[in-house]
């Protein structure tokens, strides 16, 4: 692995992250500049290389640069290599930051990678990330997005299956309130036979929060024995929250298993009543329901410590403890 990053402890005094997790290295990128390393950030794993520690890449926007920032991160996993990456993005102040990011991820034959993407920015921030993903034969990629907070968050994922027997598991949980906008656009392209893809995106929308989901699965004429699934579920907490979902399947091969499902709903009244008959107050019961709704995504996080931390963040977010985020600079993560 190219060692083009270092741990930057100086930043952590300002950045009150309860990190690092056990067996995790941290890398800071401030206004697009890799601290202690070359910019833009790139990581290349050699053939057979196994990352012993998780790598947490923390990208922050600092008020010392308020212009539109275009930045990039590249990940290349060589044959049979494996690793886990946590990507966090934060804003240090409530300025009108605009960030456009491009992330390329390529996995060669039999490589295994997990990406956990944590997005937590202020209400004035606008962050758009485009992921270009290429998977080789037998490769496995998991991506879990946790879009906790941010004025406008847009994630575009373009994923191509280029060789047989590869698999991807894409999941996302997004939480919006005030006037936040969450926009997920996912293009999964089955170009070759016998690959599996799975998408699960769930959102909890409060106040005047808006979520858009566009998911396209394309199965090419040759891509027989494809299994491709997609689900998008939205929970509307307020009357003014909105969700737009458009699941799309384009299938040109005959022997495939594909499905898509999209729902926009409210909290289940029967569950709510059941909990209340046991003495759980209505407000607490709603939080429990929302946590339960979120859990299906969070349980995809394989690392227990990370999963617990994410769960607690989601709970605090649902309890409204992030409502002061528009002015706060604590950058919880």
């Amino acid at each position: 692995m190219e060692q083009n990053y270092i741990y930057a402890p100086a930043l952590t005094s300002e950045f009150r992250c309860k990190v690092p997790l056990k067996e995790t290295r941290q890398l800071f990128i401030v206004n697009g500049k890799v601290q202690g390393g070359k910019s833009p950030f790139s990581l290349r794993l050699k053939e057979g290389e196994v990352m012993k520690e998780m790598l947490q890449i923390i990208s922050v926007r600092h008020k010392s640069y308020k212009e539109h920032l275009a930045t990039q991160q590249d990940f290349h996993f060589g044959k049979g290599s494996s690793g886990k990456i946590i990507q966090c993005s934060h804003t240090f102040s409530p300025d009108r930051f605009r960030t456009t990011e491009k992330v390329t991820i390529s996995l060669e034959r039999d490589a295994v990678a997990e990406f956990y993407i944590m997005q937590n920015e202020h209400n004035n921030a606008e962050h758009s990330t485009s992921y270009e993903v290429n998977l080789g034969a037998g490769a496995f990629l998991k991506m879990v997005f946790l879009s906790l907070h941010g004025g406008v968050i847009r994630n575009d994922i373009f994923l191509d299956f280029n060789e047989k027997h590869a698999e991807c598991d894409l999941a996302g949980l997004y939480l919006t309130d005030s006037k936040q906008l969450m926009d997920n656009n996912i293009y999964v392209n089955h170009l070759v036979p016998e690959c599996n893809s799975n998408q699960l995106f769930k959102g909890i929308l409060d106040d005047e929060g808006v979520a858009r989901f566009y998911g396209r699965i394309n199965v090419a004429p040759d891509a027989q024995k494809t299994e491709a699934y997609q689900a998008n579920h939205n929970l509307l907490i307020s009357d003014k929250a909105k969700a737009y979902t458009s699941p799309q399947l384009e299938i040109y091969a005959g022997d495939v298993k594909c499905s898509h499902g999209a729902t926009i709903g409210r909290l289940n009244e029967d569950e709510l009543f059941y909990m209340r008959t046991r003495g759980i107050p209505a407000a607490e019961a709603r939080i429990l329901q929302q946590k339960a709704f979120a859990y299906e995504v969070l349980e995809k996080i394989s690392n227990t410590e990370l999963r617990e931390r994410m769960l607690s963040l989601v709970e605090r977010r649902l309890r409204g403890e992030f409502s002061h985020c528009s002015t706060c600079i604590r950058n919880c993560c």
């Binding site: 209340r276 008959t277 046991r278 003495g279 759980i280 329901q289 859990y295 299906e296």
Partner: protein, 252 residues
């Protein structure tokens, strides 16, 4: 009988849903230590009565009142009724994926304690209590980490209801068709749990379609409800008669 000692008093209760009258005038008195069985054919209003007692919305009380320990029960929210000591065991317990049974019941128990001015149970105290009460219905510990009722069989769901009841120690338990969907063994276990929780201070209303539950839980009174009102009240011997003759002789 001593009128001062009435735990639950239902007087002239009329209930509608979507402008259709389901309960057409129910009167019932329950005292501490008593077990009442409410029987009746399908659609007679049994489940409506239990839902109204627990505070389910969408049911409109058009006439009558329900007093619980002298207080107007209808003014209380479902959670307030629970804190006051009313428990409803569901005919179809709700599955709540993602909320583990242990977190669910711990939250419920601590909310109850909060209302009584008691501190939360420590983790050790809670575990001890939970193990003890799970044993009442022969539940093994694997149920605690699973989602509430998720993937539980019919019998397991009913045992879980009685486990919840055992944890909350209600004054009045209303058990809606607790016997439905149970095989003989599960029925024995569930009934055993209910009997174990019986004290001179608490009361139970079992709502059932069949007499067989009453072989295990012996009621003091049996009421037959039909077309939204109680048409016959008698002692436990009535169950035998219903078993042999059905409801027709009562209805006609």
């Amino acid at each position: 009988m001593n009128n001062d000692n009435i735990m639950l008093k239902i007087s002239g209760l009329k209930v509608s849903i979507d402008d259709r009258e389901i309960l057409t005038g129910v009167n019932l008195e329950v005292r501490p230590g008593e077990v009442h069985a409410i029987m009746g054919p399908n659609g007679s209003g049994k489940s409506t009565l239990s839902a109204v007692l627990a505070g389910k919305e969408n049911y409109k009380v058009t006439e009558g009142e329900i007093l619980f320990e002298g207080e107007d029960l209808l003014k209380l929210s479902p959670e307030e009724r629970s804190w006051a000591g009313v428990f409803l065991g569901f005919q179809y317990p709700i599955e709540i994926p993602g909320v583990t049974n242990v977190n669910f019941i711990k939250t419920a128990v601590n909310e109850h304690r909060k209302r009584k001015g008691l501190p939360e149970l420590s983790a050790a105290q809670f575990l001890k209590l939970m193990r003890e009460r799970m044993a009442y219905v022969e539940m093994d510990s694997s149920f605690t980490s699973r989602g509430v009722n998720v993937g539980f069989s019919g019998g397991e769901k009913k045992r879980n209801e009685i486990f919840h009841m055992a944890m909350l120690e209600p004054k009045l338990a209303i058990l809606d068709e607790t016997d439905s969907g149970l095989d003989v063994d599960a029925l024995r276990v569930v009934a055993g749990g209910i009997n174990r929780l019986k004290t001179p201070e608490n009361a139970t209303i079992v709502i059932t379609h069949y007499q067989r539950l009453l072989d295990y839980i012996v009621p003091d009174y049996i009421h037959v409800i039909y077309k939204g009102r109680i048409i016959k009240s008698a002692g436990r011997e009535l169950a035998q008669e219903i078993e042999q003759r059905g409801y027709d002789w009562l209805i006609n």
